[in-house]
Amino acid sequence: MSLFTIGRLCVKIAGRDAGRTCVVVETTGDRFVVVDGDVRRKKVNILHLEPLEQLIELKSNASHEDVKKAFVKMNLPVWETNAKKAGAKPLAQRMVKKAAKVKVPKTEKKAKEETKQ
């Protein structure tokens, strides 16, 4: 029987998420599982996982929110993707820049040049 059943806590040992804790959410075939937790939710090879002793009670294909709740209970960090906000620049800052860029009308420019001459 495979160790990588649903709810098995693991540590990823390969790639960008190596060293982070995750939990098996779904099994696909005998070599691949879907993991979630302190890693990006994705299908991984079981050769890239180190199983831990703990088992969490989870439904098959549990959502990220369910995994998050279980991880918070166990005081484990959770992977969160913070989407970039559109228009992060404060509006006031943009207005100040706009005001500085106000163009002088051509007629005024000509008048100034004439007075110089």
Binding site: I13, A14, R16, A18
Partner: protein, 91 residues
């Protein structure tokens, strides 16, 4: 008589055959050494062997692999290091 800078070993020597049949020595800047794994001394892939000035201009993600110990350990040694940490065994 060769100049002092040509004797110091600061430059690498390149032997060029001229059209007249002579072999002359050209002096060029030394190449930068490749990065090696701290544990197994294997040449690391994904780490550019360029001059520090050129590497500084690259984005951080192009300077080393994006995994823990990227640019210090090779992937196999990184796995060993993490496994020993998880299992609580001294590496």
């Amino acid at each position: 008589m060769p100049a002092g800078r040509e004797k110091s070993g600061r430059f690498r020597r390149i032997f060029v055959k001229t059209p007249g049949g002579k072999t002359v020595t050209h002096y060029r800047q030394q190449k930068n050494s490749k990065a090696h794994c701290r544990d197994c001394h294997k040449v690391l892939s994904g780490v550019p062997a360029q001059s520090p000035a050129l590497v500084a201009k690259l984005p951080r993600s192009a300077r080393r692999p994006e995994r823990p110990y990227g640019g210090i350990l090779c992937s196999a040694c990184m796995r060993k290091a993490i496994l020993s940490k998880v299992r609580g065994v001294a590496p």
